[in-house]
Subunit: 446 residues, 2 copies
């Protein structure tokens, strides 16, 4: 009997686990879901007899090692900082691993050993990263077969409120791990624009935005998403003058978040002891260099950041609760933890609202006699009161890949992301069969 171990039972896992349990019933697998929150794990399993819920402190090395050793495959939906160590233990235990997170920069170090043991360590197997890579590769491959050369590659991904649901000042809801929203951009970003490499540190990422319009959703803003350059070789795009992966938000998000970054709040390293004894105002004050007792904190903050004390950004910071006199509520002990908790509460998806996930590829393609603009769009709405678009599209690729591994359909080994047709081909086919498909159009531009 094949054993699947799912690590983590958060936002992105319900559809994934439900899919695996359905397959498990047919194929006779066992699915173990382990989370520090046992109730959460139990809820994901529901009444399925093939499912088992466990409470796991991921830092309990003995239990972690034991579970990984017993599993045939681990689907690791823990926060990204556990990717490397879980992969290392999977390789030590002869267990495959799949994640939906960006590949950790240390993962290539494990590639040789994974290959030697014939193990698949597959990362970036979600929506963005995941479906975006797979669909981009399929599109690029099709263009090459038609004799075209990709001259510019722009690709955008996002999870947003549906337009009619975008009812808060930031026009954003948390539908995935809020930690990843809070720490977005932390390692900076780089991309290629008109043959020039452009690199940004964290404190500049949300300053470098531009508009993108999506049909049915409207005018959005994009900011550069991590390292676009590394996908140039991974996607085989050696002739592009522009290579940009961007993240989409409704306009206004980035100008507000830029100031939160400049203030320094997205910090998950520095721990503040007894953080619950401070108010949100106290926390903001900690990030100001000088603060004369009696001064107006809102004005001092606006002055420090060089923004209007009465403008929209300041309104948004106030609306988020950063200037509240209430005591801080958080399970954690860093300023990032405070933001996570604030956003979780202020930006919770209302039960009457739905989300939408979107991937939008925009390519400039050269043929012998013309240039074309090729646009490929994937839009998936969540179901009000049911699965979010995010849960469906982040969880499904990992689940499908796990099935393909366990049924012997994948022969690949090593530390990979899904840019290989032997991986993305069957996964995209299965997704299409379930109704998840891209709409493509092209126009001659020169």
């Amino acid at each position: 009997m094949k054993k699947i171990l799912v690590l983590g039972a958060g936002h992105s896992t319900p559809y994934l686990i439900s899919y695996l349990l359905d397959e498990a019933a047919v194929l006779g697998w066992q699915v173990t879901v382990a989370d520090k929150n046992l109730d959460m794990a139990k809820m994901r399993i529901g009444g399925y007899s093939q499912g088992k819920a466990l409470s796991l402190d991921i830092n309990d090395i003995a239990m972690r090692t034991q579970l990984i050793r017993e599993a045939d495959i681990v689907i690791n939906f823990l926060p990204p900082n556990f990717q490397y160590v879980v992969a290392l233990e999977c390789i030590q235990s002869n267990t495959h691993m799949i994640t939906a997170s960006y590949q950790d920069e240390r993962m290539p170090d494990l590639d040789k050993e994974a290959r030697r043991k014939g193990l698949l360590i597959l990362n970036e197997m979600g929506l963005d990263p995941g479906i975006d890579h797979m669909s981009a590769m399929a599109l690029i491959e099709k263009i090459k077969q038609r004799g075209g050369t990709v001259l510019a590659f722009r690709s955008y991904g996002s999870g947003l409120p549906a337009p009619e649901s975008a009812a808060n000042p930031l026009r954003y809801y948390i539908t995935w791990n809020p930690r990843n929203v809070i720490m977005a951009g932390e390692t900076g970003a780089q991309y290629l624009y008109k043959n020039k490499i452009k690199i940004l540190p964290f404190h500049e990422v949300f300053q470098r935005t531009w508009n993108v319009s999506l049909e049915g959703i409207g005018k959005l803003e994009a900011y550069p998403n991590r390292d676009s350059l590394k996908y140039q070789s991974l996607f085989g795009l050696d002739k592009v003058h522009t290579m940009i992966r961007g993240t989409l938000r409704y306009p206004g998000w980035s100008e507000t978040w830029l100031q939160i970054v400049r203030l320094g709040l997205p910090n998950e390293i520095l721990k503040i002891s007894d953080i619950g004894s401070y108010s949100y105002r106290d926390l903001v004050e900690m990030f100001l260099p000088l603060y004369a007792p009696g001064a107006n904190l809102e004005h001092e903050t606006a002055n420090f950041l060089n923004i209007s004390p009465t403008g929209k950004i300041m309104d948004n910071l106030k609306w988020l609760g950063l200037f509240s006199e209430d005591k801080i509520q958080t399970q954690g002990d860093t300023a990032a933890d405070v933001l996570i908790d604030l956003l979780r509460r202020k930006l919770a998806l209302p039960s009457t609202a739905r989300d939408v996930v979107a991937i939008y590829h925009e390519l400039e393609v050269g043929y012998s006699n013309r240039r074309e603009r090729v646009v490929s769009t994937f839009i998936e709405y969540g179901d009000i009161g049911g699965y979010t678009g995010m849960a469906k599209t982040v969880g499904l690729p990992a689940a499908i890949a796990a099935k393909l591994v366990l049924t012997g359909k994948f022969k690949e080994s090593g530390c990979l992301i899904p840019t290989n047709s032997a991986v993305y081909g069957p996964v995209l086919q299965e997704l299409r069969g379930m109704g998840y498909a891209f709409k493509e159009r092209s126009e001659v531009i020169g």
Copy 2:
């Protein structure tokens, strides 16, 4: 026969290894030095028969595991990002570990398992961190025994050129792992000042400086060193209104480095492929948002950073070679790697120069009838043409601790830093015996 494995053979290891080889000759130990650069490892071993030099790619998991398994103790002088995984494998292999690096934030996760197995995983066992913690604890303990209460704790550490040797525009030489100079401040900093917590993001750290004078060295500048707050409880300082750990440089370093950080160059994540095909000028241009062909790069950079195009900071950036038309020379592929290589060459310690390491504790102490200012200073000069002050003082605490572990003098287990008198007591005693001592003075201030 006891086996010591030293991982890494860089700047900070020659004195450490020499000390261990001398002890090994007496006590019949074996010392293996493993580095990716075999010649470096061989040079450290010299002609000692108790020593063995090995070439090790730390990402060769099989060989790494084998070496750790065979050792009784690992002295890990690899870059800090390997601390966690080496510690994990030491615990799996029943091997003790000592490092001179700051304790990784994930280390407490390993504490339970280390205790269960009776293993000592001792971090921050160098100069700063290391001798600074141990001497601070000894001083605080003495003050408490005298009935004093520490009201303010300021502690500074640094490795600098000796005043007569500080002959370049930045008045700094690289005498330890340059990576740690380049990435200093990357996680931000926090401290307590007059009962207020102050927190800074990376892009503000080098902006928050103040002057400190050291006898024999002169006027220096300090910037806040990482997380000072966490040492408040580690040092048992529950009554302080001010708690600051700072790093010392000659004045002018921070105003220059601040701009390098604002530009975004200290980034070790984003890889630039074929980096050697670009010039240093090209690299700087990558960090500017806009650059019109033909514009003056120096002026555009100054404008972007809002600094004078003709001032001292710009002079320093030019002197470092950032505006050179030469092709980039580096073994690596990130902007941080380029800085490492530039600093290694531009800031190399001349053979006729010597360095100095300094630790300076400045405490305000309350007694029932008075307040005192207590100052404790440790200054150690390097030997021209011999060991640097840095190599002596960073390597020795780890070496002494290793000896104490192997000779059964330490009974402690778990993931520790040396704030425990059972650890710092014998180490300071041995250091004093070798002539490494603090000078202390105090004055009544109220």
